[in-house]
Symmetry: C2
DNA sequence: TTGTACGCGTTATCAG
DNA sequence: CTGATAACGCGTACAA
């Protein structure tokens, strides 16, 4: 900046103002400055600017991992919206280690980040962050839920009120959520609409999103007069365990069956189990997933699923955290994508 | 920092030194400072530090996207190694738009980033970056290669020398590469070892990695006395086009056939085409992929493939760019992962 | 062993 | 319309 000022015989203050198109600066000098800055390849020092203004145009982003297709897509949405608005995201993958979560926070605080987005966080980070005075938005908050509540819902007993798309809005935290309940319903009504009468749900881990999808399954079936229907629980959230649960079920079931899986990976596990057990998809077993991960289009057969608007989830979180959007809670609908894994019962 | 100094009645300089465990500071004050800093939740200002020292502990990372499973895994490797070394990666996804590539560079320069890692870059970025004086490491540089060269290799004519794991090392650029040639050979020898005699290769786009995999295929077959064998070319690098190429081939071929696919996604396309054409895998058609994307374990049947050490690729790039490793070119071997998509000819 | 003083590159305030 | 000047928070040369 000094260089530019010197070359033109003006002060650095003038250059600074000219570069920001300050109308108080004459058009002539503004152009001259722009021209020289261009020639000298002037690059403003982000560090100096931050030090002076205390505003960083940095958005901290914490997530578990980025290696999986789902979060990757969300992250892409964050990145591209942030760039549009002139912000730079600072990503931090915690790989599930809680010690790294607080380290992430330390880093962000050192960088004077004032906006934080977390993707499917463990509960503590957002709370700590608001305590530090950050603006925070949470994408698909996924807090734990007791196994008792699950069996309550699965068995058809009364459900406590207030089971909504996300926990009660916490003060100072914006929530961007996928409509899990609606997705569960949508997947199920697709199947009832096809004429199925025998169902099964492969449920997910003990978290809220999973509970809501189960509830959607139950509601849709109840409305069709088909409730109750079985619910499968994998002992662990790994593919083998899911496959085993499905295999065991198919072993004592009669085709045709219609399955609503917790998510696409669960659905893939079900596809495997069906294949091994000699059940044909979709002839003997219809399967619907939820998420629409990139791979869903390439399973064999292609997976019918309820797509999450992953890109928008990310983009809206950016808007939320920058206060472009006042809503405390934003819920996005899923969209049914019909492929080859579902068909009517023959 | 002023606060801490005030509370202890010392100068900020002392605090600064104490925090770095400067041995010139008495142990007593060092501990006192540490204690107060802790209590006051002191966070050093990254901006101020950078402004003063001109070293940023920031590593710029440019990649196409992060939504796909492959790059995601590499990125994770970068992130975790960088953190170990006290560096903070600054990610920038270009989504394939070249205008964003230079924007990424602008951002990095403004942030005073001095180390840059690019993942499968378009050729221009690394060059520009070295011109700006950055240290740069390139992961799986993938420069374009003419279609003519491909047909030359496919048809078995003489191959120009110097077809190595990556282009001739450019000055100032470190290369971290996967051994594509070796992967092509490994995939092929797995198949010859199984006793196959009829082969086909589904080749990739016109880039070096793709050419090398093809060459590996050819070499392995030549050594087994089985060359020449057919090579399939998809008109476009999309799933449909790959499927079509395979379908057309299967239509005029006799089982059993052994296929080496350019990568796992191509292999998945082949699996689809086979399924549609009524070919059974692995009975009629054996398929080997390359990459070992997360999904490869979950195709139907599970895909045999040559795994890329994605995490290490990222980690080594960090080492390279920080000069922890002097080698100009580092080549990493693939590892055969046998699943259910390959079997001997019956 | 510690304190003083300066400067890193910006921007904001105030004066001209 | 423009210039001088101070200050942001830190690290370090120099002095004590």
């Amino acid at each position: 900046m000094k260089d530019v000022a010197a070359q033109l015989g003006v002060s650095t203050a003038t250059v600074s103002r000219a570069l920001k198109d300050d109308p108080a600066i004459s058009l002539a000098t503004r152009q001259a400055v722009a021209e020289v800055a261009q020639r000298v390849q002037y690059r403003p020092s982000a560090a100096a600017r931050r030090l002076r203004t205390k505003s960083t145009s940095l958005i901290g982003v914490v997530m578990q991992s980025v290696g999986d297709g789902y979060i990757g897509a969300v992250v892409l949405g964050i990145q591209s919206r942030a760039r549009e608005l002139g912000y730079q995201p600072l990503f931090f993958a915690t790989e599930g280690r809680t010690d790294l979560e607080s380290q992430a926070l330390d880093v962000f605080l050192s960088e004077q980040v004032t906006e934080l987005i977390t993707v499917s966080p463990s509960a503590s980070v957002p709370r700590q962050a608001v305590a530090e005075g950050l603006h925070v938005a949470v994408i698909n908050s996924d807090e734990a839920v007791s196994a008792r509540l699950f069996s309550r819902v699965a068995s058809g007993r009364a459900v406590p009120d207030g089971l909504d798309a996300c926990r009660d809005a916490e003060p100072m935290i914006k929530h961007i959520a996928f409509d899990d309940l609606g997705a569960g319903r949508l997947a199920t009504t697709h199947l009832t609409g096809l004429g199925h009468r025998s169902f099964v749900h492969l449920r997910g881990p003990n978290v809220r999103s999973s509970l809501l999808r189960l509830l959607g399954y139950r509601q849709a079936l109840a409305e069709a007069g088909l409730w109750p229907q079985p619910v499968l629980t994998a002992t662990e959230p790994v593919m083998q365990s899911r496959e085993a649960a499905v295999a065991e079920f198919l072993n004592r079931a009669q085709p045709p069956i219609a399955m609503v899986a917790y998510d696409d990976m669960s659905a893939v596990a079900a596809l495997h189990a069906a294949h091994r057990a000699g059940w044909r998809v979709p002839d003997d077993l219809s399967v619907v997933g939820i998420d629409d991960i990139q791979f869903a289009a390439y399973t064999n057969p292609g997976l019918t699923t309820v797509a999450q608007p992953k890109h928008r989830l990310g983009a809206l979180a950016v808007d939320a955290v920058l206060e472009k959007n006042a809503a405390e809670v934003t819920v996005l609908d899923g969209e049914l994508v019909v492929r080859e894994s579902t068909a009517g019962p023959s």
